[in-house]
Every structure is written in structure tokens, then in C-alpha cells.
Symmetry: C2
Subunit: 386 residues, 2 copies
């Protein structure tokens, strides 16, 4: 059977991995960061700008696209690649993460029941339905429908999450109608309990799936627990398959996880922060609406080569655009932040090739902490995720 | 004295003129349409996208920029050209039009008093102050501070507008500190009264200004009156100077005015309509949120070469983006609408060169009316301007 995905492991530096994911829509150099296009559009950016920023793969959300415009329409219009005019690799999540966070969702071994946010109708999301939607959307990598354990969770709740995740992976595999075109990744749950993570990982690895993800992280547990869980779980995943850390995260989270051997990442942070005027720089995050930037003639980050920085749009101009509620503020800052994340993983890739990932990480964090330290007194909870 | 502006008249077709405006920041082929960048940014577009759409000059609003970020800061950051990263020609209005439409403005021969929308402080805008701001902003063409007569206006009110406009043009000229760099255009007022328009035009023409505008139009008077006033007033303006019709307008207005010999236009319509899902096509305006576009695989206008149409973003995708409130909906539709206007004036320019402007105009309107007719029953007031 033709495989929809091939992973090459090119180099390592400590546990950090430099790899390459080949899909039917192109190749992704790893470690890779995927910008998020929830509704089939990376917010405030044209596909060509996402690509120009260096992104090779984007993520889209099954839950949102199933509700609107519906996967059938997307399929009719060329699948997600054609619909959103992104010719490169795409990953879709299973919809589970969104559904389980709805206020009135009912979950059973069968799946999840809830009301549509769009039209109020009753909706059911099961493993079979999630895969059916993802088959229609046509992404290169699709995700198993799992039960994402919230945080904090007692052991009983975490055990149920693992049980359902393993119950459902079999149903996902049976439902998968395009295994030659779309790689179905399994997701390791188990919350912060090492023996549950291990049990879940071992059962999934036995299925020889084309890739594996760590789920149930970036749900409020904070940097330390995220690191511990990723550290422990990454070791349980096969070296010859890509490893995806879902929904992560801040630059320091990414670098830690790359150090534990994770390859793929996605997060709304670069674009969401951009729309609320937070820009990432080599010296840390800055808030462009702060009065200190009102007369600042420098670009967001003088060391950056993005369209906003290379084009010499000043912090003062961006401060003004945010104040005037101009859409261009979101456009320029999104372009910058997405480029920042792509430069971060590109730097990590080079460092791994050169066998100096830990040095790269340490040097990056030293520079990055300069602005972060300055922020701390007023934004002490900012690193807890969004 | 070096002149800040030179106008070449290249060809005529009937009264329609094909010309070229040379400024210190580049050349503008006329008839030309200027996209509006109220706060120093054409809404939802990067400067390079505005340029790629074919625009050679943009307009920015003195009133808005004086309130925020303040003309002193703009001057410090390289003037408007540097601040907004638009290296080409720029025109600023005088601020009068905005100020006179404020609810609590007090107007006297001295000028206008009002409260700042930004911080509530008392603000005075006089001819001297308007020119001072425009000198600091540094646009290539600056506009006289005039009294824009509202519509409808009785003859007495219109006469006062002309009187103040002529009183103030002398003060504008005396206040103008950069006559070698910035061309100060006079504005003909007089509402719908031919003898007042004539008196105003003759007095201004006697001043031998570098260019002339028709003001007090596009204020709710409708297509027929706009045409009559433009027809009568354009004839009074010297052939060797550029003629600017302020705040106009819809495609049919532009074509009529080009036929009367007007050269320059500006309007918020292409970008404002774009944000509310109205796109211009060769067959007329379409509303992308209409259910008829939900499954429509065609681009906005199959005959268009803009990034949105040439990139094959479908009407169905745009319909979806508007429904999901995605910023990309405004970006793509703005790019399209601005390009539509630029293609319209480019077509007019070619037709004038070939001596067939009236044929071009008739053929354009025949095609354009197809969708407009379909809209009429439900949108009968849509052509009255915004």
C-alpha cells in the first residue's frame, strides 16, 4: 500500500531531532511549527504570506469547518488545499479538543453530543464522524478522535481518557477511508500520570501508526508540568515516526520540547497575540500599545527579516495603527509573529544539524529574557498559556 | 521657484482628458483614482498591495492624523511617506470636510472649534492650522481649508460657503510654508448654484493655483445633481491644471466625471464596501454574503487579474470567510475592489488615448448594469452613496 507519509531522521543533537516529513503535498522540514487556520484561514494573513514567512504546513480545525461551511462543501471545492488556496501540507485536528471544552457537551463511550454554535442544532461527534469529516477535508495528516483530559484531572478521569482514546483509535482506523492519502496520527493521553502515559503510548505504538502526538498538554498545566510530561512521553514514541506536541506553545515551551525530541508543533499564539498587539522579538515579547513605543522609530525587531521589519514599519506606526483600530496592525504583527516562530524553528534545525542545539537554546533564552524580565512585574501570569 | 507639481495633458476624447501629474515622489497617470488611507493606512491592505493593484497616489486625512498620532510625530518619523511606508505621491485633505460634519462644531470666519474625538480636548481648525498640519505631514498635494457646504443648502448658506472659501484661500496661501515641495489645490464650492460655482471658480482661477478641486459634492445629492454640478464646474477650470473631484465615488459617477474632464478622484467606497462584503465586478456589484454564493466556485470576477481572483479564491470561500468573521475576507475583497477601480481608470485612460472614451463608457455600463439591475428591487437606495 502506498504510504501517505514518510519521515526521514536526518540528524540529532542530544535528544533533539532534525527530520523531514514527506507528504503528497510537499515536504516539511522538522522541527516545524504550524500556524493555525481555524476556519481554513490563518487569521489576517494571505496564504502566500504564511508561506513567505517560512511555514510549510498549516493546521485547520475539523470542528469549526464541519459546522461551517461543512466538509461536503469543502470537498466539492477541491478539499481544504483548494478551498483555502494552500497547496502545501495540511494537518487537521479531530475536533475533540474543541468539543470537550463546550459548556454543555455530553460525552459517552460512543462520542460527544452538543449543540452547534452556528445554528443551535444537535450535533454528534464520534470517532467515525471525525474521520469521515477529516477524509472529506482531505488534509495530509489527520488526527485520531481522542478524549482530551482536562487539567487538573484526578487519576480516575485520566484513566478514563486513556481508555476511551484506545477504544476510539480502533474505530478511527476502521473508519479511515483514505489511508493511502492521509496519515492518521494517534494521540497519547494520560494527563500528568507517567504510568497512564506509558500504557497509552505502548498500546498506540503497537498499532504502528504513521505518526504520534502528545495530547492533553497546553491545557493550563504550565511550563514545568508540560516539560515533565513531554520529557517522559517523548521517550516512549518510536524514533522512526514524527512526533507532534499538540497546541504548544510559547517559544520557551517549543525549545524545551524540541530538546525532548518532538518534531511538530502548532499554536494560535503567534497570530492571536499579534491581534492583541503582542509581538515576539529576540529580546522577548513587547506590547506595541505600550506608551513607550509611541515615538519609537525602530521596527518591531531590528534583527528580523519579515515584511513588517524589513519594510521598516516602525513601532510608532504600529502603535498608531493599534490605537486607530486599523486592520493593518493585525496584518503586520501577524506577519511578524509567524515569521518569528519560523525563524525560531529554522534556528533550531540548523543548530541540531551542527550538533549544538543546547547552546542555541541557551543563547536564545538569554537574549529572549531581557524583555520578559522587564514584563514580569506587570504580567506575572502571562507565561501560563492563553 | 521650483514647482512642486507639473501637469501634462497627453490626449483628449470629447472633454475627457488623458494626463500625467508629476510630483516630487513620482508620477500619476490620469484619470487616476486614489484609495483612501484615513489614518495613514489603506484599510486592510499593505502599501505594496495598494501599489500592486495599480494605485499611484493615495489620500490621507489631515483631521484624523492631527488628532492621532499628531502631525509632529508623523514629521519626526519621516513625514507621511516614511510613516506609512508609501514612497509614492500622497494627497492630504484639509480636515474641513470631517470637522464640519461633527455634531458640535462651531464655525466662524476664523475657523472651526470642536472637541477631539480621541481625548475630548478643545480643538481649533483654521486655514492656518490646516496648512501647518499639512506642511508637517508632507504630502505632495495639499488641499485648501474650505467651507464644505452641506446638501441640501439654500442659496444663502451656499453663498456663505463660497465667501469663507475665498476668504480662507488667501490665508492658506500665506500660511503655506513649503510651496516648493507641496502643491496647494483650491476647492470650488457653491453647492448646486451655477452662479456661485462660477464666482468661486473664477476667483480661485485668478490665483493661478497648481490644481483645482470640486468640493461640496458626494454629500448626498445623488448621481444626477453630481453630474450637473461637475459638468458645469469642470468647464470653468483651466485646461492646463489637474482637476480633482473630491470624494467621488461609484463607478458610474467616475465615468461621468471623467467625461466632463475631471482627472483625480478619491473615495472610501472600494475599501469600505469590501469590508461589508460588497465586491465590484464587470457585471455590477455583488454581495458575497448572499446565499447564492455559498457554493459558488468562481472567483469574485472571472475577468479580474487581482490577487484574489487570479489566485482562484472562490466566492464560496469568501462567503465562508465573511460568515466566520475572518479578517482575510476584508483583505481579499479590498484587494479586489481597489484593483477593480484601478482597472476602471486604466481602461478609461486607454480609451481616451484611442479617442473612444464614450464607447468605452457605454460598453462598461452595459456590462455593469447586469448585476445592478438584479439588485435594484432589494437595494433601491444603494446608489445614493454611503
Amino acid at each position: 500500500m502506498p504510504t501517505p507519509l514518510r519521515f526521514e531522521l536526518l540528524a540529532t543533537s542530544g535528544r533533539a531531532r532534525r527530520g523531514r516529513v514527506h507528504t503528497r503535498h510537499g515536504t516539511v522540514e522538522t522541527p516545524a511549527f504550524m500556524p493555525v487556520g481555524t476556519h481554513g484561514a490563518v487569521k489576517a494573513m494571505l496564504p502566500e504570506q504564511v508561506r513567505a514567512a517560512g511555514a510549510e504546513m498549516v493546521l485547520a480545525n475539523t470542528y469549526h469547518l464541519a459546522l461551517r461551511p461543512g466538509e461536503g462543501l469543502v470537498a466539492k471545492l477541491g478539499g481544504l488545499h483548494g478551498f483555502m488556496r494552500w497547496p502545501g501540507p495540511i494537518l487537521t485536528d479531530s475536533g475533540g479538543f474543541q468539543v470537550f471544552s463546550l459548556p454543555k457537551v455530553e460525552i459517552s463511550d460512543r462520542g460527544a453530543h452538543f449543540r452547534s454554535e452556528v445554528d443551535g442544532s444537535a450535533v454528534e461527534l464520534t470517532p467515525e464522524r471525525s474521520i469521515e469529516i477529516q477524509n472529506a477535508l482531505g488534509a495530509d495528516i489527520i488526527m485520531a478522535f481522542d478524549e482530551c483530559t482536562p487539567w487538573p484531572a484526578d487519576e480516575e478521569l485520566a484513566r478514563q481518557g486513556v481508555r476511551r482514546t484506545l477504544l476510539w483509535i480502533d474505530r478511527c482506523l476502521r473508519a479511515h477511508g483514505r489511508p493511502e492519502e492521509q496519515a492518521l496520527f494517534g494521540i497519547v493521553q494520560g494527563s500528568v500520570y507517567p504510568h497512564l502515559r506509558r500504557a497509552c503510548a505502548e498500546a498506540l505504538v503497537a498499532l504502528d501508526l504513521p505518526g504520534y502526538a502528545i495530547g492533553g498538554v497546553s491545557v493550563g498545566e504550565g511550563h514545568e508540568l508540560l516539560c515533565r510530561v513531554t520529557d517522559e512521553t517523548a521517550e516512549l514514541l518510536p524514533a522512526e515516526k514524527p512526533r507532534y506536541l499538540m497546541g504548544v506553545g510559547l517559544p520557551e515551551d517549543l525549545l524545551a520540547a524540541i530538546g525532548y525530541g518532538m518534531d511538530l508543533f502548532d499554536c494560535v499564539i503567534p497570530t492571536r497575540y499579534a491581534r492583541s498587539a503582542t509581538a515576539f522579538t529576540a529580546r522577548g515579547r513587547i506590547r506595541l500599545t505600550h506608551r513607550r513605543y509611541r515615538r519609537d522609530a525602530y521596527p518591531i525587531d531590528p534583527s528580523c527579516d519579515c515584511h513588517a521589519c524589513a519594510g521598516a514599519f516602525s513601532r510608532a506606526y504600529l502603535h498608531h495603527l493599534f490605537g486607530a483600530n486599523e486592520i493593518l496592525s493585525a496584518i503586520l504583527t501577524s506577519i511578524h509573529n509567524v515569521r518569528f516562530y519560523q525563524r525560531l524553528v529554522a534556528g533550531a534545525r540548523r543548530a541540531i544539524e551542527e550538533g549544538r542545539f543546547e547552546i542555541f537554546r541557551r543563547e536564545f533564552l538569554e537574549g529572549y529574557r531581557q524583555e520578559e524580565e522587564r514584563r514580569r512585574p506587570r504580567h506575572s501570569s502571562a507565561s501560563g498559556g492563553e
